[in-house]
Symmetry: D2
Subunit: 300 residues, 4 copies
């Protein structure tokens, strides 16, 4: 971050204005500050709407006069989460400024229920910043899982990979600049020159999403099956959400992050096991893969 | 409104909390206050995110370093509106509490890109409040337009209509209560009893939407072809938006409310007329209906 | 159904045209035929796109060259369902023509990710058709569940309710016609007259949705907590889907309809129970409501 | 295309099955065949639902009994397009298989209202295929428009750019393979190795969208302001749509592609010009940029 950018953030943070709106103290403390992710990325909270109370308020329109309001907020929020109510959580909204490598951005954008404004490489010249993994994150293709990572690469191979990534990034950017240059030539259009840049270059966007859809994003992207790099962002955003709506976060953590979904076959097997019966995979009707996941779930 | 509700609103409005977020003074003044619509309806602003500056900020991520920021905010916002950019306007969000008749709610809900929490008549007993039009809004079926209203009804016919609407509403509600009553009987389930209620009964919801989609809603529902009752709501919401994001509202007013879309055929005719030629409908290739709309547009 | 409508359907069904597209035989057999629901409602399949194979095909773009295609279709579809993959299921689409009471339509429309064209009571005069429940569906408000039904109403009370519903419907429709009539008067605009109609009157729409979102609809609306009347529609649509995409339906049935979601607390309790420990509600950290649902789940 | 792929397509095209659904002959002729775009890209129609008649059918649910059906289909479709009705067009759906460079895919995916299944570079090894522009498409940055292209590059500069793009693509792919290789090393995980690939590498996806949203896509991406490379795809898709729904396409072409939107200020100026007055930019209240666009529109 440049000193100018730091000064701008300090100025934004110094300014306080009275509002009649609901205020979430845990987020106010985080507003505008860049939370670092990976080697050059960050997540910044730019704005938000609502708090735990807004979820309860929206749900209780559904109850209105004629019902009693005895449930406490935490209990109601757990109830809403347990029964997959989505609309009360949609009443909270957050806007983030995110800096991230393009290959992460391509996974991220698959979540369609968000508002996005990305820096345009048709208009702007991208910065010379590339994601280069730390050696401990350089892993081999998994042998058992076609989409995942296996063991960490050994020293020499890791060094070779890092050298390739660094050299190719630097050369691609040098050539990007050379094509754009108007020094003694016309200079290639930015919208064309950018195509030479590899997918570990960083981009930036404003990303605005409601809490229900953010939870859906976090459930998929904080999952152990997600790629390490996007999980790093999901992890930071999770900490932000925990400060913003602590009751909703606690419910989400218990039901979604720590919870699990069981099929009818799995429930049948489970009921028999609880009655003391021994159940084999063949009896359960599950495939080997399902059975493996089921056993691992029961072990915890 | 009951004194308790008024006291609750007064208490909400009296509370001010410092925030680091962007504040829109024009909306702060309106927060929580019910703006009356029709005979028993209202629109209340419950929360909001962003202001005109947030639109500009989001658009300029698209410009970023490497471009100059010489355009002033109003000009940029007009440019975005003119070229149908939608994502910068999506960065602003507003949450309303609305009380409205069910037949209006049924038109309104067709706008799918919003978040809604409606009071549930499965859980709650609805209030005895019905929309009864003012006599000057009791119009005959239009002779020329199959979907619209024609002349205002004459005295006796209007009186007959009003009497029917009032009596049927009252009787339906009496029967609703009679079916629900547990006095000497089991009492019908609320989810069943409600089906006896006519569509002019009032319901309530929390409705949250971004500015781009709100403009789309207003363009369709503030239009002369929209039904009077929903236009009444669109009118009040328009005034709220004008106080919230005055620059965006001015651009919307000029481009969408006062502007018009011309077909290629219409543009061809227009160019010839500007060259001094006389153009007939037959030459233009337009249908009688299109030609009528075209002529009316040129008259202003 | 009128003889003209029946003749039209017969003509549609008699026509067969060759296509290069994928064909789902189970749906071809059902095309255009009204499947009755409630007393006057129906569901008709008007068009569809894709079959089980289309789900597999879309998922395998994700595998492409470089991976082996050993998983069989049923196994892959179960895998996608188990791991909450949504996009392959979105590749199938169905279009239904549905006739349904307005209070059911109001619940239904809350599912926003569908395309809808509803008959407009601003343009058209609605038919004199009202939903009158069968006596065995006239239930009292549930004592234990604020949103549900309890015991069936006893004879005399049921008779009284039915009489009210029938008389109020008939009277409301008589008055609707009287207000619309142009016999010796101008005739009230349709968009106004309709507000006198109760919510058990039938409406119609074309409803088009992809399979992923249809499964979401069915999971919520075929659930025991959904209101009986919308469950009746969900039940018929479920049978249609089972004929259309039998492999996807089987996976949906096992994972969603017969499956269940467990919280982290529930999984912890379960693991201890499987180890032979006795777990009390207090130890589990669950609320009384959660514990009740948990115990009921384990009983099956 | 490999001979195996060609044989597969031939086999798909040779198969015809009777269906009761609506069939669009113009699309049947195109099904499965790759329509080439750019140097290695294509668009293939995989499936579709509906035709011009389906639009009319959906719109007329809105008319139903009680209205007359005198408007002919073409006129009704033009009316719907003129008055921005969207839901009838949503009743048609198309599924495409598209091969396209990543930088084009990144623009394309911004259209959120579509269903997408993209080949995953976490699972699969991408092919060695890169977009290299033809010399006549290598343009300089525009001097007047920050986001566009200006003049075509002169010979030597163009040659230098092409050499860079080709060499960097080839080297990046060589290194991609070297990092993936398990020959004497563990082999880097695919999800990491891919980040070295530049954005002109080709990807593939299945893309399914309804006609209303497809028209919105085409309006933005077939526009003169869109980047040449995505316009090439929009052009081919436009030809496909013209064969699929000829009436809707004709209306779209006249109202959206050849039409224009005028602001209130522009309409005021126009009305005065039609009355023979001379209007200057200053009198019009338009900015220089708006006035330039306005004058250019009137010239045609």
């Amino acid at each position: 971050m440049t000193p100018e950018e730091q000064a701008e953030i300090d100025a934004l943070r110094a300014r306080q204005t009275p509002t009649r709106r609901v205020v979430a103290p845990g987020l106010e403390a985080r507003l505008y500050t860049p939370h670092p992710v990976l080697d050059h990325g960050f997540v910044r909270v730019i704005d938000y709407m609502g708090d735990d109370g807004a979820i309860v308020q929206a749900a209780r329109v559904s109850y209105g006069p004629g019902t009693r309001h005895t449930r406490d907020d935490a209990g109601l929020i757990r109830y809403l989460m347990r029964h997959w109510h989505s609309t009360p959580f949609e009443m909270c909204e957050i806007k983030l400024h995110v800096k991230l490598p393009i290959f992460v951005a391509r996974q991220w954008i698959r979540h369609r229920t968000a508002n996005v404004n990305e820096i345009s490489a048709r208009y702007s010249i991208l910065d010379r910043e590339f994601y280069i993994p730390r050696p401990e994150h350089l892993a081999a293709q998994s042998a058992s899982n076609r989409q995942g990572r296996g063991e960490v690469l050994e020293g020499e191979e890791a060094a070779r990979v890092l050298a390739i990534l660094k050299e190719d990034s630097a050369r691609a950017y040098d050539h990007y600049e050379a094509m754009l240059s108007t020094d003694g030539q016309q200079g290639l259009a930015r919208e064309l020159a950018r195509m030479n840049l590899p997918q570990n270059i960083y981009t930036q966007w404003y990303w605005k999403i409601d809490l229900h859809n953010l939870f859906h994003f976090l459930r998929l992207r904080a999952d152990a099956h997600a790629q390490h790099e996007i999980r790093a962002y999901a992890g930071v955003i999770g900490e932000i959400v925990a400060d913003w709506v602590p009751l909703a976060w606690a419910a989400f953590e218990d039901y979604r992050l720590r919870g699990a979904h069981l099929s009818g076959k799995a429930l049948d097997a489970l009921r028999r096991m609880l009655r003391g019966e021994t159940v084999t995979r063949e009896q359960s009707g599950m495939s080997p893969g399902e059975w493996r996941e089921f056993e691992s779930l029961l072990r915890g």
